[in-house]
């Protein structure tokens, strides 16, 4: 219960603050620090960030929900983010999604019972030329086919 930035993160944020025109502009870096610390953004953390930046908590909540990279709840060890924007949708995202659902036995927004995988759909990952794509944690995987998905998931176990 309760959230507080670590000393280290606070120092880093103070250093970053000098680069921005206002404290409010530190919103995304501050949220990234929260994600690094906890793996997700709790309601307590939203209050702490809002207080730190001097903005209403509602504003922080709006930003957290806008970006699919921030989570309001803990996610699995591997967070699978499948791109659902135009190019990927046209190039077979639907098939990949169906395959992932069946393989993992979970729907979008759910986590496997062992806490290993979370499945999400996200907006454009900026790799339309190699659609369909997905990002697992910080790694991008391109030109997906069911076989390739098997291979990738195998490598993670």
């Amino acid at each position: 219960m309760g959230f507080a930035f670590t000393e280290e993160n606070l120092e880093e944020l103070e250093a970053l603050a000098k680069r921005y025109p206002s404290k409010e502009a530190l919103m995304l870096p501050a949220l990234w620090k929260v994600m690094e610390q906890d793996g997700y953004v709790s309601m307590d953390a939203i209050d702490v960030v809002a207080d730190y930046l001097g903005v209403p908590p509602m504003k922080v909540y709006g930003v957290v929900t806008f970006y699919t990279m921030f989570h309001l709840e803990p996610v699995g060890t591997y967070h699978i983010q499948l791109c659902r924007t135009l190019s990927c949708s046209l190039c077979g995202k639907g098939e990949i999604l169906q395959y992932l659902r069946n393989k993992l036995g979970i729907d979008v927004g759910e986590t496997t019972p062992d806490g290993k995988f979370t499945l999400s759909q996200v907006e454009c990952l900026g790799s339309c030329g190699t659609a369909p794509v997905m990002q697992i944690n910080d790694t991008l995987y391109e030109n997906l086919t069911p076989e390739k998905v098997d291979e990738i998931l195998e490598g993670l176990k």
Binding site: M43, P57, M58, Y61, G62, T65, F66, E123
Partner: protein, 476 residues
């Protein structure tokens, strides 16, 4: 822009030449001159936001249609508001709005005063060209607290509500969350609206997304007659519309109060306590005169009143409610002089510091406190001896006074105790059933016309005292 604002320039709108201030918001100028321009996000109190795209007009020399809320008046603008192209643009924007909008107008409280419904009829979107897939569904009854209910499916995301809590009340409870077609208005999880002006959100909402818990499902708006009046909740004197109706099998009934624009007093808004104060006007009312615990008619009541007053040898003290209209107070003043009574309207008992804030809620919770002062009525508490005859015109302090003989003129029957303690209890009309003037805390005098005409009206203070003067039945 601000330095040029104020210079009068001429612009042409649909062939009509109109004069406007340079730098003024074009939409505002068009609306003021009677042009019908559809819009959601713009509101006089909140300013333009430019997100709804409904207020498009054609401006000669500009390639594409422009939103008139983000266009500023300059000399020689030539504008067309209703060309075939503009109608097409509006129809297309509506079409996008309607992709996920539920068609639940038959059960929607906003039906009849809904911008979406009105514009749909005006711009004739009878066949959409967007393929209608399965609509997205959101929460249809989210209780935001403070009597405000949110139907996220009906929302057009104009952000008037979020701008109200951000800019006007500065309480920041509302925001837009998620994105694209999943965007919706929300509070923080587990938190609610926390300001005493929240019900204004219901008026601000151009569609049926925000509805009042108090008014929803109560009455169809097209049956309501809006009568202008003034709120009696405190001495601020906020201007309101009293929405009422006399429907089959029912007496004239008030269904809601809404704010009425008055830049000198309340701007566009009223507080929630004032808004809900209509309820007290039609509950717990005293309707019949009581003499020694038994109901009596008007003529007999006047005779008993006369008898009591004329047989009194001791002092007579009159207490008058500072919510009464100036005309009623004047009449009481004349009455007091005639019978040699001491007249007081103690103001101290109306002060409620907890109610007050810096905006519209005033600590003086008597609508006509200034009227009392203007008439020179004593505002201190009188000393009352036990043999005094107390004549009380609905003053709240009277209940705590211990006198042997009293006559009460009351709007509300406050339990049997009060009724039995007074020798004579006479019902008087509430403010919505009478007319007169009020002077608000800032000294502004406002006239209130009678709003409600009950089938069986309760006499007003003036009617009682006129009858007393005449000593016989007063024919109305």
């Amino acid at each position: 822009m601000s330095e040029t604002l104020g210079r009068k320039v001429k612009i042409s709108v649909d062939g009509r030449i109109i004069e406007a201030e340079e730098g003024a918001i074009l939409l505002q100028v068009l609306l003021k001159n009677g042009f019908e321009i559809p819009y959601y996000c713009y509101h006089e109190a909140l300013g333009p936001d430019g997100n709804c795209r409904m207020c498009m007009v054609e401006i000669e020399g500009k390639k594409r249609p422009q939103i008139s809320c983000d266009t500023f008046v300059e000399e020689g603008l030539v504008i067309h508001t209703n060309t075939e192209n503009i109608r097409k643009v509006r129809r297309e924007i509506l079409e996008l709005q309607l992709i996920n909008h539920p068609v639940d107008c038959p059960i929607c409280d906003q039906a009849g005063e809904c911008s979406l419904q009105d514009y749909y009829m005006e711009y004739g979107l009878y066949h959409g060209s967007v393929e209608k897939g399965k609509k997205l569904h959101f929460n249809k009854h989210l209780d935001l607290g403070r009597n405000v209910m949110l139907d996220q499916e009906r929302c057009v995301l104009c952000q008037r509500c979020t701008r109200f809590t951000t800019n006007i009340t500065q309480t920041n409870e509302l925001g837009i969350v998620w994105r694209a077609d999943h965007s919706c208005v929300s509070t923080l999880p587990g938190r609610k609206l926390e300001n005493g002006y929240a019900m204004n959100l219901v008026d601000l909402c151009p569609v049926g997304a925000l509805t009042s818990k108090d008014f929803r499902f109560q009455q169809r708006v097209w049956f309501l007659t809006p009568t202008p009046s003034v709120c009696h909740g405190c001495a601020k004197g906020c201007n309101i519309f009293v929405d009422h109706a006399r429907l089959k099998y029912h007496d004239d009934t008030i269904y809601r109060f809404r704010p009425r624009k008055n830049p000198d007093i309340n701007g566009y808004f009223i507080c929630d306590d004032g808004r809900l104060s209509y309820k007290a006007l039609q509950t717990g009312r005293l309707e019949k005169a009581l003499f020694e615990g038994r109901e009596i008619g008007f003529d007999e009541a006047v005779r008993e009143l006369k008898k009591s007053v004329e047989c009194t040898t001791g002092r007579i003290v009159i207490l008058a409610d500072a919510n009464l209209y100036t005309e009623e107070l004047e009449m009481i003043q004349i009455f007091a002089n005639r019978i040699g009574a001491w007249l007081y309207a103690p103001l101290e008992s109306y002060i409620d510091e907890k109610f007050a804030d810096e905006w519209l809620r005033n600590a003086m919770r008597a609508a006509n406190a200034k009227g009392v002062e203007k008439l020179g009525i004593a505002t201190t508490m009188p000393e009352i001896k036990r043999d005094t005859l107390l004549i009380n015109f609905n003053h709240p302090v009277a209940d705590s006074l211990d006198v042997r003989r009293r006559i009460d003129f009351l709007t509300h029957a406050e339990g049997p105790e009060t009724g039995s303690r007074a020798d004579l209890t006479l019902p008087i009309a509430v403010w919505s059933e009478a007319s007169g003037t009020l002077i608000n805390i800032d000294g502004l005098e406002q006239r209130c016309e009678q709003v409600i005409y009950p089938s069986d009206p309760v006499p007003t203070v003036i009617r009682w005292l006129e009858a007393y003067e005449l000593g016989e039945r007063c024919i109305v």
